[in-house]
């Protein structure tokens, strides 16, 4: 579908908007609707949209498999690491209040990093599953 002018122009217009919206949903999740899961899915959907227009091979060059697999694992590690950080700073596991001098501020910091972890894993897993299915399809042609 690379030669379809409408799709290419639409993709140009929309993919940055989708990715930006994902970031907005991610970092504004404390105040408005949204959070890590939604942000990860929206970001993955934007990249999958790119793949639908330009093909999986081009997307694989843009977001290589290694990066995606690292994202899959590192998200869970970030989340668990926040828990461990709480433990090391003298609180319970996943107790965010000790992450900063002020408990409320600590909670914010903890939630922020936890959401980053969730978004990373979700986005990575979605992309990885898509890559897996799409590349299988191509080999059959």
């Amino acid at each position: 579908m690379k030669n379809d002018l409408v799709l290419r122009v639409l993709g140009r217009l929309m993919i940055p908007a989708i990715l930006l919206f994902a970031l907005y949903v991610q970092f504004h999740g404390d105040f408005g609707p949204g959070g890590g899961f939604q942000a990860g899915v929206i970001a993955a959907a934007g990249i999958i949209f790119y793949a639908l227009i330009h093909g999986v091979a081009a997307t694989r060059r843009l977001v290589p498999d290694g990066v995606v697999e690292t994202m899959v694992a590192s998200g869970v590690l970030i989340y668990a690491g926040v828990g461990l950080a709480g433990l090391l700073l003298g609180g319970h596991y996943l107790d965010y209040s000790v992450l900063s001098h002020d408990p409320v501020h600590g909670q914010h910091r903890g939630i922020f990093w936890v959401e980053v972890g969730v978004a990373t894993t979700v986005c990575g897993v979605m992309l990885k599953i898509f890559y897996m299915f799409a590349s299988r399809g191509n080999s059959e042609d």
Binding site: G34, L94, V104, H108, V118, K128, F133
Partner: protein, 168 residues
Amino acid sequence: MAISVVAIVVTRNLFSVIVLSGAYSFLMATVLVALDAVDVAMTEAAVGAGVSTVLLLGALHLCKSEEAKPVHKPWLPLAVSVSTGALLIYGAWGLPDFGDPDAPIHQNVVPRYMENEVDVPNVVTAVLASFRGYDTLGETTVVFTAGAGVIALLRRRKKGPEKTREKA
């Protein structure tokens, strides 16, 4: 929404079933917005209508696009699902009204959530990430495990790519 569900059941062409289920997901997202569950609606629109439609189309690419004729008559499963649905509707009559402030669910632990010592205006985020942090960690691990499972199942083996292709 009901029309799309009936159409999904009746249609034998899997391509139109996938498109219809995408439409169903979008309608479901609007229902969730109407129920003030914007977080869930966002997820439904992005996952249900967006990503999973693409994934199902990718899977459809690997198999036949017509659904096989069922071997058995579907009367028993139909009876089971209709009676379960009727039971659930009957049970739903006993629930408190939607948004009723006196409902038991709003008396117990919700006031503490709303007071919000976390001081995050979006209560959903506060509950998910802080009060129920362990659950969300578990969920993230589930997503991770799902991804790892797909990688383990579908990764093309370097030695015998022909073998995996035969299985598909």
